[in-house]
Symmetry: C2
Subunit: 119 residues, 2 copies
């Protein structure tokens, strides 16, 4: 048996296509004042939206971060994009927190997953 941390990390599972993925890749600035609180609030907010399917996040220490949020359909994604609190956070991101970012909004056509059988 392999060792597991308390809450094992697992990628968001494959959903039934079609669904949407918002891929947000970013490099942050040295000025991260207020980022942690806002990020936690945004995470709570997106998870509360109808049609939210899940989110994966990874960050190279001191470098590039990738967040991928999955949504059931384009309407759910539009609701997230146009949410008033989210828009204010986006503006704050451009003012202070991000050196550069790219957002790719994509319709998932197929997906599959793998989980290692228990030894």
């Amino acid at each position: 048996m392999s060792d597991h941390p308390e809450a094992p990390v697992v990628p968001v599972a494959a959903c039934e296509p079609p669904y949407y993925a918002a891929v947000f890749t970013a490099v942050r600035t040295a000025n991260q004042r207020g980022y942690g609180e806002t990020n936690a609030r945004m995470e709570d907010l997106v998870r509360s939206l109808p049609g939210f399917l899940g989110m994966d996040h990874a960050q190279n220490p001191g470098g590039l971060s990738i967040t991928v949020a999955y949504f059931r359909d384009a309407d759910a994604l539009t609701e997230w994009r146009t949410n008033t609190e989210h828009r204010a956070a986006q503006q704050r991101g451009r003012d202070d927190w991000y050196q550069s970012y790219t957002l790719h909004v994509a319709k998932v056509e197929r997906s599959h997953g793998f989980t290692r059988p228990q030894d």
Copy 2:
């Protein structure tokens, strides 16, 4: 002026839609023998394919990794998926290196980027 490392990290830029994104999220096992060499070879291989647009990668230390590769069209992605060397590496990944993974293949409908103006 902010400090930059020698080669500044920047996310893959937004391309002209439509294009394809292959989002690969994974958690690795303790057995990573041979992973580094194979991963480097796969990176060289995918970058050499016609229609390859770029790739972003981030990994939480000891945890989830996300790799997103961008392709001009479905044909370029099919070529990558069915490449003989890549298929052998995928099998090795399931045998040894991955605890779990999910692959989402998606058609990018819109994208945009932001780069901080020079101070």
